[in-house]
């Protein structure tokens, strides 16, 4: 299994709305496209600093990701929620991770 880890940086006042969009719009689109929804985590919005929200999707291998990618970019809803989340983000990263053999989540 491999994982796509999106880390979004948002203003604390936007954190709840960002997570709402992930839950109500991104998860339906990405899971319909074939990705697994693994987790969505956020740092505390009460520390006087930017909130980091990490969303993790899973896929079997890069052939499967290629299919998922096709399905998501052919779904008009993907463009809609992408625009909404982009407006709320101040920065962030996307990285692909591949589990170490001893990892309990492999």
């Amino acid at each position: 299994m491999a994982y796509v880890v999106d880390t979004a940086h948002v203003d604390p006042v936007d954190a709840q709305e960002y997570m709402r969009i992930v839950e109500t719009e991104a998860v339906p689109v990405m899971t319909a496209a074939g990705a697994g929804f693994v987790s969505c985590w956020g740092t505390s919005p009460e520390l006087g600093e930017e909130v980091w929200i990490e969303t993790v999707w899973s896929f079997a291998d890069h052939s499967e990701w290629n299919q998922i990618r096709k399905n998501m970019v052919l779904d008009p809803r993907w463009y809609q929620y992408s625009e909404k989340t982009a407006r709320l983000r101040t920065g962030g990263t996307r990285r692909f991770f591949y589990a170490a053999p001893f990892s309990p989540l492999a």
Binding site: T7, S63, N66, R69, S82, G91, R94, F96
Partner: protein, 227 residues
């Protein structure tokens, strides 16, 4: 072979270092995916509101499909391009589905290792005869114009078939044809553009001259090639 162009408009405020990273990723792609051939990253010098052109090719649809599933594609290139990526630096294109265009060819008819590349995306309409005679006039330019090293015109079959390179998965593109030319230098390009050949005059008029009835829309890009 599959000939392919990715054409990008940068987002307002895109960091220069990220633009350089994307350009570098395009340039390094062949180091990781040897199936990718004749890769050139061009900085568009025309007035069209696009900044970066990545031209390249694949020997076959199978070679293209290996690019599609390669981790470098998903990990590095998509990082800067996909709409949902936090690091996206490109904007929705003023060319619409002209972001990705290409065609099939028997061999590397497009190849040039240095000079100036001119690419015109056309949306053609009208009768087959109108389109055919216009396309033949474009194709013939290399045989009659000094400094033009190649002139290729092909239907844009790739844009709607981007998943496997051959099977359409989208409605027909607004950009029906691609005209790509090679000029031996920027000077020969300028001389052609400012010259009085029928095609140069037609282009300068916005493709409104006689013989251009088939042209519904066109956009021109040009950039330096130095392999």
């Amino acid at each position: 072979m599959l000939r392919r162009f990715e054409i990008y408009t940068m987002s307002e405020g895109a960091a220069a270092e990220k633009e350089r990273a994307l350009e570098s990723a395009f340039r390094r792609c062949g180091d990781f995916i040897p199936e990718m051939l004749h890769s050139v990253v061009g900085k568009n010098l025309s007035d069209a509101r696009v900044q970066m052109v990545w031209e390249h090719a694949y020997e076959s649809p199978e070679a293209y499909q290996r690019y599609m599933v390669h981790p470098f594609h998903a990990n590095i290139l998509d990082r800067y391009l996909l709409n949902d990526c936090p690091e996206r630096i490109v904007a929705d294109s003023p060319l619409g589905d002209g972001t990705l265009v290409g065609y099939s060819c028997e061999g590397p008819v497009y190849f040039m290792d240095h000079g100036l590349r001119k690419v015109v995306l056309f949306g053609l309409e009208g009768t087959a005869e109108q389109q055919g005679s216009f396309v033949e006039a474009l194709r013939g330019l290399a045989t009659i114009q000094d400094g033009v090293t190649l002139s290729v015109v092909e239907p844009n079959t790739f844009g709607v078939a981007w998943f496997d390179g051959v099977t359409p998965i989208l409605p027909p593109s607004q950009w029906t044809h691609i005209w790509e030319l090679g000029f031996s230098s920027a000077e020969t390009y300028d001389a052609y553009q400012q010259g009085d050949s029928p095609l140069a005059r037609a282009e300068a008029s916005g493709w409104k001259e006689d013989g251009c009835d088939a042209v519904r829309q066109a956009v021109e890009l040009h950039y330096t090639v130095n392999l």
